[in-house]
């Protein structure tokens, strides 16, 4: 077995770590929401890293662990439903598996929807990789009254099957033990399909074998496919798989032959060959699951179903959604505020203690204001708000309610050129823009990712909410603050329409699995929160500290006031704001969460009502709400969409914010003059 890390270009994905000398590599594959990450986390514990597949925005987590004295490596592939090449995730998973980068593939399946999960399992059998089926969520299956015969399943599929309940860790040890025995050989071809399809596959396989054997054409066969079974290649060619056709164009006339054979299949069935093959797979999956699954008690409507008819109700569903959203924000802000307050007190106490140490004043100023302050500021946003936020998010995801939210909001999102899934990242934007932009990965297409990402940056995150509520809400009035949110929604809507209209491509609709409602496992949610928080800290802290340093430097060098005075005509006449507020706006790019504190510093008071008029506060908050997202957001945007788009979006948002600020200032003055 070649070393998976150096064997292909994919090595770059894991260049950032992991034990180098792992002997056996497992890959976890499966549909979304089957418990892959739970299994992955249970196996690897804290020993894991997340890498990016080169050139693709698909995350691959890898980790290592020791099992009975053996070092094992695990790679968690993205959740997929098929091995066709229609989404980046599928393509990545397929490249990975076809490239034999894993010694054993563990296909995690949801036993409560076995039939649909077997569709992917059958494709893995076509690929003839060493395979183990992890029959997961067996606890839920037995709760639903399903009894699954693992032996029948194993016999039908021709690979070992292990029952697991990952959330409680059941069966995982056996899974690893069985998987290890599988690393030795490759299983035979999987279950057969209908006669017509098999004949067609055989014809293409023969043409393929002939072309490979012929020295004239053999060079057209890419080396990476040397280990891929001809059956798999033949099926993909029949399906009209563009990637496969592209790879094999110079291999004699194999592609043309496949087209002819596929054409015959189509003539018989009346729809395209890929559809015929897909329904054959489902026919086999249906047969196998009918043989292996027995429904022991046929109860009526389950609790989940009854709950669904409420949560997805035409009217009540929206009510439930509104309650859920309010509760969520209530919890995040109440809990967050409390903790933020406590942390601040703690840090103040630390600060006093630090300066009491009696270091050289220049040094202590640099250390504290330049570095420690940045870290502490990071901690005081990350911890108090992100912990409850991530916990609730994980709760929503794991209970299946997030999908219900997408279902309800699909028609609204559709008008923005998006579909229901986009609700999730855009909604996350109210918490923090960084995870929101990262969250756009749940959508399949680049276009959707981009639109959702841009809209998410416009949504006021918790840092901007602090400014809106702390300034306008506290000193102008509740309704003024609400009107800012309404203005925001209108702008989001307009920008969405514009992007939808002018970005190339069109709006494909929602095709989303609706996971069953379940009670989330706390252990899993806590772990998930921990990993997300860790990811955020690793990613965002360096930027926050760097920003804090730059800020400190600029202040020390005394560059800020001259700039502010130079731009004073613009700030004062066009925006109608005091010149010093410009400094706050510039700093706000680095640290939006500190905008209010900085404003207090430059104005010399926290009682903003005394020094700023209602108009000034409103315009200031409006600009903070819309202009460039913070540095961390720009950094994630660069990572997700590239530097050009990140720069373009940031610049565009500054322009929009300033223009709107000027407009509101003008209107306000006009109205004031009339009244």
């Amino acid at each position: 077995m070649k070393d998976p890390l150096t064997a292909t270009a994919a090595g770059g994905a894991f260049a950032n770590g992991g034990p180098a000398a792992a002997e056996t590599t497992f890959a976890l594959v499966g549909n979304a929401n089957v418990g892959k990450s739970v299994i992955f986390n249970a196996l690897t514990g804290m020993n894991q890293t997340i890498g990016n597949w080169p050139g693709k925005t698909v995350e691959l987590a890898q980790g290592a662990f020791l099992f009975r004295g053996k070092r094992l490596r695990v790679i968690d592939l993205p959740g997929i439903y098929s091995l066709s090449a229609y989404s980046q995730e599928e393509l990545v998973a397929r490249d990975f598996l076809a490239g034999r980068m894993a010694d054993v593939v563990i296909d995690v399946v949801d036993s409560t929807v076995l039939e649909r999960n077997l569709y992917l399992a059958l494709q893995l059998r076509e690929l003839q990789v060493p395979l183990v089926l992890a029959l997961n969520l067996t606890d839920l299956a037995s709760k639903e009254g399903l009894e699954i015969d693992a032996d029948v399943l194993s016999m039908e599929l021709g690979v070992p099957v292990v029952k697991t309940a990952a959330a409680s860790g059941k069966g995982l040890e056996e899974l690893v033990a069985v998987a290890l025995t599988c690393s030795l050989g490759r299983p035979g071809p999987g279950p057969r399909y209908g006669r017509e399809v098999e004949e067609a596959v055989l014809q293409v396989e023969e043409a393929l074998a002939a072309a490979i054997a012929d020295p004239v054409t053999a060079s057209g066969f890419p080396d990476e496919y040397a280990g891929v079974p001809t059956r798999f290649i033949a099926i993909k060619l029949l399906e009209g798989d563009e990637e496969m056709e592209h790879q094999l164009t110079s291999l004699g006339d194999v592609v043309q032959i496949a087209h002819t054979v596929a054409g015959k299949l189509e003539a018989v069935h009346g729809h395209d060959a890929a559809g015929v093959i897909a329904s054959e797979r489902y026919a086999v999956a249906g047969r196998i699951s009918a043989e292996a699954v027995r429904r022991v008690d046929v109860t009526g409507r389950s609790t989940g179903e009854r709950l669904d008819s409420f949560l997805l109700h035409k009217v009540l569903g929206w009510f439930a959604l509104a309650v859920a959203l309010f509760a969520m924000f209530g919890i995040i802000f109440i809990v967050g505020d409390k903790f933020a307050g406590l942390l601040e007190e703690l840090f103040e106490w630390w600060e006093e203690a630090f300066f009491a140490l009696g270091l050289h004043p220049g040094w202590s100023d640099f250390l504290w204001r330049g570095i420690v302050h940045g870290v502490l500021a990071g901690v005081s946003i990350a911890l108090p708000y992100l912990v409850p936020f991530y916990l609730i998010l994980s709760f929503l995801e794991n209970s299946g309610y997030l999908a219900r939210m997408a279902f309800l909001t699909d028609s609204i999102m559709h008008r923005l050129g998006l579909h229901g899934k986009a609700f999730i990242p855009i909604f996350l934007g109210y918490g923090c823009t960084v995870p929101a932009v990262l969250g756009t990965r749940i959508m399949e297409r680049d276009r959707d990712r981009l639109i959702a990402g841009i809209l998410a940056t416009l949504i006021p995150c918790s840092a901007r909410t602090v400014v809106i509520l702390g300034l306008v809400g506290a000193f102008v009035g509740f309704w003024a603050a609400i009107s800012l949110y309404i203005i925001n929604l209108i702008i989001v809507f307009i920008v969405g329409r514009i992007l939808n209209k002018y970005l190339p491509g069109d709006n494909v609709g929602l095709i989303m699995e609706m996971p069953k409602l379940r009670t989330p496992a706390w252990r899993v949610s806590l772990k998930q929160t921990w990993f997300r928080l860790k990811d955020f800290v690793i990613f965002a802290f360096p930027i926050i500290v760097a920003g804090s340093l730059v800020l400190w430097g600029l202040e020390r060098l005394g560059w800020l006031d001259p700039v502010a005075s130079a731009l004073a005509p613009f700030t004062e006449t066009v925006l109608g704001l005091p010149a010093v507020t410009l400094i706050v706006l510039v700093f706000g790019v680095l640290r939006k969460e500190l905008a209010l504190i900085m404003l207090a510093t430059v104005l010399g008071t926290t009682n903003f009502g005394l020094v700023l008029s209602a108009r000034e506060m409103f315009v200031f908050a409006l600009i903070v709400m819309l202009y460039v997202p913070c540095v961390s957001t720009i950094a994630v945007m660069r990572r997700e969409y590239g530097a050009k788009i990140a720069a373009l979006v940031s610049a565009g948002e500054v322009v929009v914010a300033l223009a709107l600020g000027a407009l509101v200032n003008w209107i306000w003055n006009l109205v004031a003059a009339i009244v």
Partner: protein, 241 residues
């Protein structure tokens, strides 16, 4: 079949059934063209189908031949060996019958199509009279087959998934683009697949169950999936078989 030139003067304006005023010919030298001949043979074919023999005056009263130089056309056809004249009656020769039949089929297809698209009967008829002269016979045969299938589908209660009320259905046709179709097929919603509609959001997505799994399909997707009610699980009527 290029007709030899006959001079014929007409001045004729008529109001078409579609509401347009069209000037067909105006003080011009009128050649007998292919369309005239085809139209006449089609008309004769209709008479034959109805089991009637046509006379010259019958043809002159045919609305489809209105404004055409019927007598000259019949002369032309007789010269070409496409019709036979015996006394007053005009009948098709086998060669003429073949052409008449082909034109007739094209007309029927075109008219059915236009009717299916919602055009008024009179308008569809008139447009079909124009289209029948330009359609390709092979394409007509293929399209007729598909249209037949489509109409059987409509007869069997096919509707858009977006309009379907909760219940059991099977997928009759996927009118989506390739990528979306592949996605749906991978999720178990291929042509012929059984599915159950659970609920739908007004002007929003539909929740369906296929192969034991629940899926939410956006309204746009759901309007492109045609489903037929599933009567019982044994009569697995696939449209294409």
């Amino acid at each position: 079949m290029k007709a030899h030139t006959l001079s014929y003067r007409v001045t004729l304006t008529r109001i078409s059934t579609c509401g347009r005023i069209e000037t067909l010919m105006q003080d011009e030298t009128r050649d007998i063209c292919r369309e005239d001949c085809e139209e006449a043979m089609e008309a004769l074919y209709r008479f034959e189908r109805d089991g009637r023999t046509a006379t010259l005056s019958d043809l002159m009263q045919e609305p489809d031949l209105d404004g055409r130089p019927v007598a000259d056309i019949v002369m032309e056809l007789a010269l070409n060996g496409q019709v036979e004249l015996s006394g007053d009656s005009v009948s098709l020769t086998p060669r003429g019958r073949d052409i008449g039949h082909r034109i007739y089929s094209r007309h029927i297809l075109a008219e059915r199509l236009l009717r299916a698209l919602g055009l008024r009967e009179s308008c569809a008829h008139e447009e079909a009279c124009r289209m029948e002269h330009i359609l390709d016979d092979e394409a007509v045969a293929e399209a007729t087959k598909r249209l037949d299938r489509f109409e059987t589908m409509l007869d069997s209660g096919v509707q858009r998934l977006a309009d379907a009320s909760p219940g059991e259905y099977h997928v009759a046709f996927l009118a989506t683009g390739r990528t979306q179709r592949r996605r749906l097929e991978d999720m178990g919603i291929g042509q012929g697949a059984q599915l159950r509609v659970w609920r739908k959001q007004p002007r929003g997505p539909v929740e369906v169950e296929a192969h034991g799994a629940r899926l939410a399909l956006g309204r746009g997707v759901a309007t492109k999936i045609l489903v037929a009610p599933h009567l019982n699980s044994n009569s697995d009527t696939q449209l294409d078989s």
